[in-house]
Symmetry: C2
Subunit: 385 residues, 2 copies
């Protein structure tokens, strides 16, 4: 195991009817800006629960954060914050709203240049506004980590940043808020969670990380068991609770410590979203099977363990084990409503070349060993036509 130093300071408030508890978390004299997306929180009753909980505060609101949140929109929120003198942000939504809120919290205090530099140049953040979250779509783990992914539409870029200053102060996870998600949102959330795990788990590593491996397999087993139930019985509380809690643990940082991490699938997927607007999770469902197929060397024992523990694949032959495990993963993604090939989205050689060229321009080498060259990315994409 590798050395690490880590603390995760996020307070989790979990369960039915817990939105009202935010009152105790936000200083009573703070001006609060409630940030949300397209308005589903108004339909499912979450918005009114939030507003009830904030009675007594000076509350402002900003709606219209997009999926794959736009830099341009975030900067509008920054203007509102400065104009109104906002002290505290409250993100109400899924990973997009939370990621946007993290960037906004940092951009408000960013000095000496364009806040886009935080994403494009890794410019240092020295201060951020405090914020809490009300999670309504389990998927990204953003409610309990310090990472954020933002898109800039005008230049078709989708980039990430992270800083300990953008951990939420608290996150409310009320599983009942997920009862009204569409099957597509449920499926995307489960697939995103699945791939967050494999990015940390399916790596080439000479050391032995038994504890982390078992934890990651546990998260995968949970979502493979509970995901399909959520599609069948949308209002089953315990199913929703397990999915919500599993997605948080897939990416709250703790079990990714002490080990290398891959993130090849996400890096390629982000480009497909940036160029063609595909749902984030659906890009992952396309790419992951190709990544495993092309980069399995040195990772076979982990692939074997994943196949056996999560999908009951139990074969002697190495080639068969890899093939059946990839097939099981792809079947699971399909069962959660995703399509798994570029052609399912009308994409082909042109898209492959576009992603390849960008990787070439940036001279990106992906993966935990930094050996996934643009040529290997093209090979992966060709497999997923």
């Amino acid at each position: 195991m590798k050395n690490f130093s880590f603390v995760n300071p996020v307070k989790i408030i979990f369960g039915k009817d817990t939105i009202q508890e935010i009152k105790g978390e936000i200083p009573s004299d703070n001006k609060v800006l409630v940030i949300y997306g397209g308005g589903s929180v108004k339909k499912n009753g979450v918005y009114s629960q939030v507003m009830d909980a904030l009675s007594g505060y000076e509350v402002h609101e900003f709606s219209g954060i997009e999926p794959n949140p736009h830099y341009e929109t975030c900067m509008k929120v920054v203007d509102v914050i400065k104009e109104k003198g906002i002290d505290y942000l409250l993100a109400v939504g899924g990973g997009s709203v939370i990621d946007a809120t993290k960037f906004i919290a940092a951009a408000v205090y960013f000095e000496g240049g364009d806040p886009w530099d935080i994403l494009s140049k890794g410019a240092e953040i020295k201060k951020a506004l405090p914020f809490g979250t009300i999670l309504t779509l389990p998927a990204t783990g953003s409610e309990m980590n310090d990472g954020s992914v933002i898109s800039r539409v005008s230049i078709q870029e989708k980039l990430s940043f992270g800083s300990p200053l953008v951990y939420p102060k608290f996150s409310v996870l009320d599983p009942t808020t997920t009862f009204t998600l569409s099957p597509r949102q449920v499926g995307n959330g489960v697939i995103d969670t699945f791939v967050h795990v494999t990015e940390q788990y399916l790596t080439h590593y000479e050391g032995d990380s038994t504890l982390q491996d078992r934890m990651f397999e546990g998260v995968l087993k949970t979502i493979v068991a509970e995901g399909p139930k959520a599609l069948k019985r949308p209002t089953d509380y315990d199913v929703r609770a397990n999915l919500m809690w599993a997605s948080t643990w897939a990416l709250n940082g703790w079990f990714g410590k002490g080990i290398p991490q891959d993130w090849t699938t996400h890096m390629i997927g982000h480009e497909l979203t940036a160029f063609y607007g595909l749902d984030h999770a659906r890009t992952l469902a396309i790419i992951l099977p190709g990544v495993i197929r092309v980069t399995w060397e040195g990772k076979f024992e982990k692939i074997r363990s994943l196949g056996y523990e999560v999908f009951d694949v139990n074969k002697i032959d190495q080639e068969v084990t890899i093939g059946e495990t990839i097939d099981a993963i792809e079947d699971f993604f399909i069962s959660m409503g995703a399509k798994t090939h570029l052609s399912d989205y009308g994409l082909g050689d042109e898209a492959i070349n576009k992603v390849y060229k960008r990787m070439e321009e940036r001279q990106w080498k992906l993966g935990e060993s930094g050996n996934i060259t643009p040529n290997i990315v093209r090979e992966i994409l060709i497999l997923r036509k």
Copy 2:
């Protein structure tokens, strides 16, 4: 899943040669009291690493914290703290030293009575001294939780308390510090970790806690795989690292949230230690098989899952599954060097009656459902003669 609200604020500094990093964690103008046990930290080099790391601080020290730390000793440390004007405590050792430090940190500021009330009456703590820990014996999870168990020799009592004010500010987990542990300490640590998991996992609960169940099974699988290796190859870094990290996760609070918890085995075991001085872990190794045998009703599915996932017990018949799982657990404890019956320690009816009488006097009802009466405790103990 049940509602909960939780944050774990402990910073973990993990890995080889990380003791030196404590310098960045303790304010430079603080007077530091280093608290440790019987002196093994001087033999294994940890003491000198700590003193090197603290160069520049005003450092005092207190040695002689016992296993099952004594209230009487803790109160001596409180006097030293007041006399020297200590600002910050540093626990160097295993769970006993850390538990003692937690109690000391709280007792220093306790007003309006005997600090023993914190343990015997659950008296409220309003303030505590800050402290960090250097863990040298993985077992109790105390390095990342807010609980503590203290014994009062004069009245043969062993009681616990907990408060968010006694979370360590940081804990250093350097697996190399565990290379010199005796086989008995290694075995005890693994058994303690095992039973911390079963106290939270093997419960009767109508709800569905898939994520927690898989996480607990993951911790058990890890220690069942790595524990025997640590006895065979004491200086295998990754084995030690996995055991150390697993013992922290067995009881850092996170996976015990949202579910009921049992703790019957610990409550009975504490009495055996209080009366007869048995090692804590060895009391657990005696008691747990009896607790499962007597209280399995309503918990069969969890016992079956534990047996299958951790010990490959795969039988159709319920009675056989329970029997083989209990046998596998007992065999594992024996493989880690423990004896598992009262008679192995020269104890019999007299001890059983003594524990029974105390439970009666206190009218304790143990277990997650509060239905383990003194009579059932006696039944459990008789099975373990």
